[in-house]
Symmetry: C2
Subunit: 228 residues, 2 copies
């Protein structure tokens, strides 16, 4: 991104808005900011929408409808430029939220980056079994596994770069995930049914709240069905 | 299950077939077998199909279409009884596979039980953040997290019992998952992009094979959309 910014810098009109749609935002501010002239507005953005498919052909008309787009302007950003970019995303059907780049990277580490990492990981683990064949993993994937394979089919180059560029937040969230998983493992080993039941009841609520907030996967599924 | 078997034992007709649809099979053979008279056929079964919804109202007409149903007859089972039960599931639209109960429990540990456990776990971890609010987790769940909330909304009583009754296989598979996750964590910490890219490329193939095998979630999604 720094290289592209450097290349286009001299061609930018005064007052132009420069934005992006990458999944990590702190590194964009750091890499792109110094390459741009002072008379343009850098406002990084991240539309939280999409499927495991990549590229222009993976788009569909309702892709951004009711999905959130996060803008992470620097502290001294021009308010009119931010409002213009907000209007752009709103016109595409998105809802817009403004936050600091650092906070964005923390929020997305837990809502997107770590979920992708553990999906890639379980699919890798299942691939490497001796006692269970690949063909069995595929046949019986409807028991839960297949939900993970969908996000583990996401673009490898993009996701490599996400993890390399949001290292600290991902490692922090992954540390918490592992601690919690160790506690669950212990509960299973000791036959502590109450601890399991309590967690499993608790996690149900958040699903209901996602559906209530219109963020369930009905629309994305629809787009996906057309792609497959 | 043992209590129910004991209660119905004296009412069973000679030659009757007794089966079940539970998610763990070794414990069913052990618990139910001794309670039944010698002149009935115990053939445990497990249709690998369903959504996160429970109970009769969560059924839909295509629920079993092209999904696998695993039967785990004991070694000395009557072949005609097994064939009858196989015909029953085939008539419901299922494909049928016969395997030993112990192998079933290992296969399902990796294709269903551990995926559910890590889904419950990530949702629990996300719930307990201080730096990221619940409302943020919900708003930005379209980045990957929401896929996990669906299976983490499964019935808490049933899943508690799955983990308590398939302890050894689940702990074995969970151990492998954690080892692999530690290696990934290390790759991120050291900025080893090649290790990340290699795993992420590898996991893509298995998704394609699940779609080719007709085990993707289009049908289940369809049922689910009607439920929600």
């Amino acid at each position: 991104m720094a290289a592209v910014a450097a290349q286009m810098a001299s061609e930018l009109k005064a007052g132009a808005i420069v934005t992006d749609v990458g999944s990590v935002k702190g590194c964009v501010l750091k890499a792109v900011g110094p390459e741009l002239p002072d008379n343009v507005h850098l406002i990084p953005g991240h539309p939280v929408a999409g499927t495991e498919q990549s590229g222009p052909a993976a788009g569909f008309a309702s892709l951004f409808d009711d999905r959130w787009c996060i803008l992470t302007p620097p502290k001294d950003a021009d308010e009119i430029a931010v409002a213009s970019l907000e209007a752009f995303w709103t016109a595409l059907g998105s809802r817009v939220e403004i936050m600091e780049a650092e906070h964005h990277d923390l929020v997305l580490a837990i809502t997107s980056h770590v979920p992708h990492l553990i999906a890639y990981n379980i699919v890798g683990t299942a691939n490497d079994m001796e006692a269970v064949t690949q063909s069995e993993v595929i046949k019986y994937s409807a028991g839960g596994f297949r939900d993970f394979t969908r996000i583990a089919a996401s673009d490898p180059t993009m996701w490599r770069d996400v993890f390399l560029n949001n290292k600290d937040a991902v490692l922090e969230m992954l540390g918490r995930f592992s601690e919690d998983l160790t506690a669950l493992q212990r509960a299973i080993r000791w036959g502590d049914g109450d601890a399991l039941f309590n967690l499993f009841s608790h996690t149900r609520d958040i699903r209901r709240r996602i559906i209530d907030a219109g963020q369930d996967d009905a629309e994305a599924d629809f787009g996906r069905t057309h792609e497959d």
